[in-house]
């Protein structure tokens, strides 16, 4: 799967699971500051990622993930 395809899926999951305005969701958008996702929200999207991409994500892998782009790259590397 190409990076831009992963981004599209991530974008639609953010919209569906957390009701985030799609215009705000860019590769540079910061999860906490720009998209206002709280720690429980992160748990929700991680579970959604795991279901959608059929992968498992450890908490340790998330420590360096602060933006949408970093999340997309993590997912892309696991596919």
């Amino acid at each position: 799967m190409e990076v831009n395809e992963v981004f599209d899926k991530v974008k639609s999951l953010f919209e569906e699971e957390l009701g985030i305005d799609s215009e705000k969701i860019t590769m540079d958008a910061k999860l906490e500051e720009d998209l206002e996702i709280d720690s429980l929200g992160i748990v929700e999207v991680v579970m959604a990622f795991e279901d959608e991409f059929e992968i498992e994500i450890d908490d340790e892998e998330l420590t360096d993930v602060g933006t949408v782009g970093q999340a997309v790259n993590l997912l892309h590397s696991k596919l």
Binding site: L40, M47, A48
Partner: protein
């Protein structure tokens, strides 16, 4: 129909809760050793037109908890309501209390409920609805001689539940503790007639509690109508702790 998981539901308070909730929900009857009794509870729910399944687990063992949830989620998607009821006693006065007596009671009554709650809460967060109810004890509020381990474990549930209530309130999940007083169950059957009279003397309502007294409150806390009640400790004890 929502799915309820009641741990320790083969007898006593847990059984009564399972039977009461069987009227409105799919009920998972959790048990550790008493398979026959748990099956009877599930059968009784089915006889009354409900849906039920008995599932074996040892809540003190995380793997066992995971296996039980995997089994439940295969059939019922998710646990919407978790009733953390299972518990044990290993009474002794403090100077004589063995490490095993302390550790076993804390592991089952407190850590075991951490395992079940952690496992259930993820699906509740995703679903943006859930109910956690912990069956503690008035002993967790007042203490009791010979029960330092049990009282500590039951008091620990209060901190656990209150913290959970703050973490997940934004997702329409409530967490509450019920603190039963003297309830007629196997756990209180050792009390002799003279002591029983002394106990009743202290109560405002002049009788021992019945498991149904607990089940009725649990039933209310499961409902949407209870959504503004969270992080609370509700003693049901005939006025003992008043």
């Amino acid at each position: 129909m929502k799915t309820v998981f009641v741990t320790g539901a083969s007898r006593g308070i847990g059984k009564s809760i399972a039977l009461e909730l069987g009227k409105d929900y799919q009920v998972i009857v959790g048990f550790s050793n008493s398979k026959d009794k748990a099956d009877e509870v599930a059968e009784e729910i089915k006889k009354l037109g409900g849906e039920s399944l008995a599932v074996q687990l040892n809540i003190a063992d995380r793997n066992s908890v995971d296996e039980a949830f995997n089994l439940i989620e295969k059939t019922y998607k998710q646990v919407d309501i978790l009733i953390n009821n299972a518990g044990i006693t290993k009474d002794n006065i403090l100077p004589r209390m063995k490490d095993d007596e302390w550790n076993d009671v804390i592991q089952t009554n407190l850590t075991g409920n951490f395992y079940t709650s952690q496992r259930a809460i993820k699906k509740m967060i995703k679903n943006k609805w859930g109910r956690l109810i912990f069956i503690s004890s008035v002993v967790g509020i007042s203490g009791n001689q010979g029960q330092a381990n049990y009282a500590a474990s039951k008091a620990g549930l209060i901190g656990l539940s209150k913290s959970i209530s703050k973490e997940v309130g934004s997702r329409n999940i409530t967490s509450n503790v019920i603190a039963p007083g003297y309830i007629e169950t196997d756990m209180t059957s050792f009390i002799d007639d003279e002591n029983r009279e002394n106990i009743i003397e202290q109560l405002s309502i002049k009788r021992m509690g019945m498991p149904e007294d607990i089940a009725n409150m649990v039933s209310f806390l499961c409902k949407d109508e209870s959504e503004y009640i969270t992080g609370q400790v509700i003693p049901i004890d005939g006025g003992l702790t008043t």
